[in-house]
């Protein structure tokens, strides 16, 4: 691995990032999630934390742009340069830029996230069957309003599951219209437009007015890309028009006719012969997650690696089941340490005869029988840079008989006990991580907490201990305050758990009762408390820990947990230690 000259690195661990704008290729939620996972690649192996902020200056400012986009290092159209980032520091340092002349996907073709319909925003399923016909893109068939839609399962005829595809008729991104859809026709500089346009802009982004006259109202938004939006050509972002005429022939789908390189293209008007408007059809695209994870490595201080399989290798290659390479792990831990382990030391140069002498990832991170994540001498693997860490039972989650609180934060289960906490991610399957210090991560909290939950919308984390509660946003904290401020009566005992219920509501449990908290106004609703067993039958009445995990409700008592589906059915009773903690 290589770092930048002078080992440029951040002087603080709790970094912030801000997404300045979004590519029209993907739904904003998908881009946000990809960036969050890309940062998690690095926070999983270091003490670094990354918090998204939505205004002001962040450590890492992220933006999409084409050609010259303001930093003097222009991109180069489709393919070639995909993105770049600057080493740690102030202002533009640390920032990451992505070339919006590329087609951004998750690496395996376009991702069409639906809105409305009855599929809860799941992605389109292509191909799908509708009235016996197969569709491999969104369609307006069956509708009079021209809104493109798709099925979210293989057969609409059978499952009746559907959602609406991105379209300027449904919503716009950014601008100043709060997502309102386009109004066609609209007047701009005296001309009438009945489609999105790039007129008036130099950055090539397609926009529309959200009232009948931009000249008068100045209301506008950016058009999301349709699923058939072309890349490059001379009408980037415009959708294919089918059928189109080319050399007198009619085409109902993309074609490579007329080209010697076999690339698929389509016309963006009904007649290429007369209008000459065209672009390349969507291909697999580039994974915004993989490219972001690489660029964020630069933002943290890593330079390019010459190990072909490493994330920091300069050339793009799509990897389906991504795992961080040991070379990348050594590099980032050289700069920031391993987390709870020793501070970074300068590694002795590795032998140069080739990768087979490098320690494999298994030797670095796989848990040993005591459930810790360290390697010991008896495994016989070379470990040039760190001293073996003896296993300390007080650090071993599997030795705990019970936990003060259990909750899911940023997709990971957190187990709290006496000022320590452990995390377990079913996604990364890297076993239990920790013990970490509660005080380091959430300064100001008492050693023993009773309950905790993360607000789904704002990502703020609430902690409860006795009659007090704290609200953390990153490292900044509000509290302690008395739970009476939430409208919970003095007579209530300690809070023993929380269940997020969507639409900004969280159920807070205490004893055999629960309250419904409106997180936004931080006040419990009228008509509470109510008895737990009114709604949640079949679970222990005075559960010790209540939490939401993987969309199911968990009620704990002793070493057992009762799992309940959103339909309020108990579908499993198991051991906390063996099922949730995955102790051996």
């Amino acid at each position: 691995f290589l770092t930048f000259e002078g080992d440029l690195k951040w002087d603080h661990m709790d970094l912030t990032y801000r997404v300045m704008n979004y590519s029209p290729d993907l739904d904003q939620a998908i881009i946000d999630d990809a960036f969050k996972r890309a940062f998690k690649v690095w926070s999983d192996v270091t003490p670094l934390t990354f918090t998204q902020i939505y205004s002001g200056e962040a450590d890492i400012m992220i933006m999409f742009g084409s050609g010259e986009h303001g930093d003097g290092y222009p991109f180069d159209g489709k393919d070639g340069l995909l993105a770049h980032a600057f080493p740690p520091g102030l202002n533009i340092q640390g920032d990451a830029h992505f070339d919006d002349d590329e087609l951004w996907t998750l690496g395996a073709g376009i991702v069409v996230k639906t809105r409305y319909g009855n599929a809860n925003g799941t992605n389109c399923h292509f191909p799908f069957i509708f009235e016996g016909r197969s569709y491999s893109r969104c369609t307006t068939e069956g509708r009079r309003d021209g809104l493109p839609w798709c099925a979210t399962t293989a057969s609409y005829d059978q499952d009746k599951k559907y959602g609406f595809c991105p379209s300027e008729l449904l919503y716009t991104n950014g601008g100043n219209s709060d997502g309102s859809p386009c109004v066609f026709p609209f007047i701009f500089e005296g001309n009438s437009y009945d489609a999105c346009t790039t007129d008036g802009r130099s950055d090539g982004y397609r926009w529309c007015a959200t009232t009948a006259s931009f000249d008068q109202d100045k209301k506008y938004g950016f058009c999301p890309n349709r699923d058939t939006a072309v890349i490059g050509g001379n009408s980037q972002g415009d959708p294919c028009i089918f059928p189109f005429i080319f050399l007198g022939q009619s085409y109902n789908s993309c074609t490579s006719q007329g080209r010697h390189d076999g690339k698929l293209w389509c016309a963006t008007t009904s007649n290429y012969d007369t209008d000459k408007k065209w672009g390349f059809c969507p291909d697999r695209g580039y994974s915004i997650f993989l490219v972001a994870a690489h660029e964020f490595g630069h933002s943290l201080g890593l330079d390019h690696s010459s190990v072909r399989e490493a994330l920091m290798y300069p050339m793009y290659s799509y990897i389906q089941d991504f795992q961080l390479h040991p070379d990348d792990i050594q590099g980032i831990q050289f700069l920031y340490g391993r987390g709870s382990g020793p501070k970074p030391t300068i590694p002795t140069p590795l032998p140069t005869e080739g990768p087979q002498t490098m320690p494999t990832e298994e030797s670095q991170t796989m848990p040993t029988e005591a459930g810790s994540t360290s390697t010991t001498e008896e495994e016989g693997m070379p470990e040039p840079t760190t001293q073996p860490i003896p296993v300390d039972p007080s650090q071993d989650a599997c030795m705990e008989k019970s936990f003060d609180a259990i909750t899911e934060i940023n997709g990971e289960l957190h187990f709290f006990k006496d000022g320590k906490y452990w995390t377990y991610s079913s996604f990364w399957k890297s076993g239990i991580q920790g013990a970490f210090s509660v005080a380091n991560t959430w300064p100001g909290l008492p050693a023993v907490i009773d309950a905790s939950f993360q607000d789904v919308l704002t990502k703020r984390v609430f902690f409860f201990a006795g009659q007090q509660f704290w609200v953390f946003s990153g490292k900044s904290v509000l509290g302690p305050r008395n739970i009476e401020k939430l409208g919970i009566g003095r007579g209530a005992g300690r809070i023993t758990g929380a269940l997020q219920r969507g639409r900004g509501k969280v159920l807070l449990f205490s004893g055999e009762n629960y309250w419904r908290l409106d997180v936004k106004v931080q006040r419990v609703d009228k008509g509470y408390p109510r008895a737990t067993d009114d709604i949640f039958t079949g679970v222990p009445l005075d559960a010790r820990n209540v939490f939401l995990y993987q969309d199911k409700y968990h009620f704990c008592q002793g070493s057992f947990y009762w799992r309940m589906t959103p339909q309020l059915q108990v579908d499993r009773v198991g051991y906390i230690k063996y099922d949730l903690l995955q102790c051996p």
Binding site: F4, E5, Y73, F75, D79, G80, L81, L82, A83, H84, A85, D99, E102, G232, G233, N234, L247, Q257, G258, R259, H260, W265, K276, W278, Y286, V291, H294, E295, H298, D303, H304, S306, V307, R308, Y313, P314, M315, Y316
Partner: protein
Amino acid sequence: PLQSKQQSVVTFPGELVTSLPDLELAESYLLRFGYVTAAEVGAKTGSKHESLATALRKMQKHLGLEETGELDADTLEAMRAPRCGVPDVGT
């Protein structure tokens, strides 16, 4: 099945008509990613050839390619591959 009639090749508007000659592509790649300086690229042909060969060797080593110092097919393919814009060498 064989096409019934000869495929015509069209020049599409807005598309680069010719791709860069290999040597030009190599020079711009080596310059952009820090393997060679502008002065070396602009030097007289004799020393230029030498410095390009050295730069090529450096790039091939950096990217894990076979170090030939020549503009072989693998090296050209690497130069055309999609990649990160941060230079490989230098600040």
